[in-house]
């Protein structure tokens, strides 16, 4: 039963990686990274149970935190670089990076 769960999570990781490789805009890639992080947390807990090493659950906590901070950093980056572009080119009207 846990093996089935692990295989399902691995397949989803492969799907997320496909989205990361395919995604036409960079935000698809960020979405894929976020999904990948959550699936990593799940895979670690499932495999910790499978392997019997339950002291690995601290890793799952740390990964969940790290994943969250990564996505927050993306929002900060987009906002700050669009602000920076606006202050440096005041004639421009559109906001920020091209989504490519």
């Amino acid at each position: 039963m846990l093996l089935v769960a692990a295989i399902a999570i691995l397949v989803t990781m492969a799907l997320a990686l496909t989205r990361a490789l395919l995604g036409p805009s960079v935000y698809d890639r960020v979405l894929a990274v976020n999904m990948f992080g959550t699936k990593t947390v799940l895979l670690i807990t499932v495999m910790a149970f499978m392997m019997g090493r339950t002291d690995f659950l601290d890793l799952a906590l740390a990964y969940a935190l790290i994943n969250f901070i990564g996505v927050m950093a993306v929002l900060w980056f987009v906002q700050e670089s669009s602000l920076r572009q606006q202050t440096q080119n005041p004639a421009r009207d559109d906001s920020g990076n091209d989504a490519q």
């Binding site: 894929a32 999904m35 959550t38 969250f68 091209d98």
Partner: protein
């Protein structure tokens, strides 16, 4: 009694994995970025809750369950926030949803 608990744990884990897979397929097959976010994020919150809940039932009342509960709580809290952050970032950078004729999408400007 323990067979019933095992059965419940197994059911929860399998349902969680169905949701996780559904999220993955949705992220791949949806046509537009905002629909993909919707699909992936819904299952990023619910799928892990079910899987971790199943593992908690499996582990019983030990320290392991407390740690799993902490991970579950953390994921429940941070996944929707991450979705918000991502969607806002995309809007701020100018990624428009498909099929929108005139520009009614205003990104949430910092107050």
């Amino acid at each position: 009694m323990s067979e019933i608990l095992d059965l419940i744990a197994g059911l929860l884990v399998v349902t969680g994995c169905v949701f996780v897979l559904a999220g993955g397929i949705g992220a791949l097959r949806m046509p537009d970025f905002y629909t993909r976010i919707h699909g992936a994020s819904l299952t990023d919150s619910l799928g892990p809750v079910l899987v971790l809940g199943g593992l908690m039932v499996n582990a019983g009342l030990t320290l392991i369950s407390v740690k799993l509960a902490a991970v579950m709580l953390l994921l429940m809290v941070t996944s929707p926030t991450a979705t918000y952050a991502l969607a806002n970032a995309a809007l701020l950078a100018g990624l428009k949803p498909e099929g929108v004729e005139h520009d009614t999408t205003e990104p949430e400007k910092p107050a």
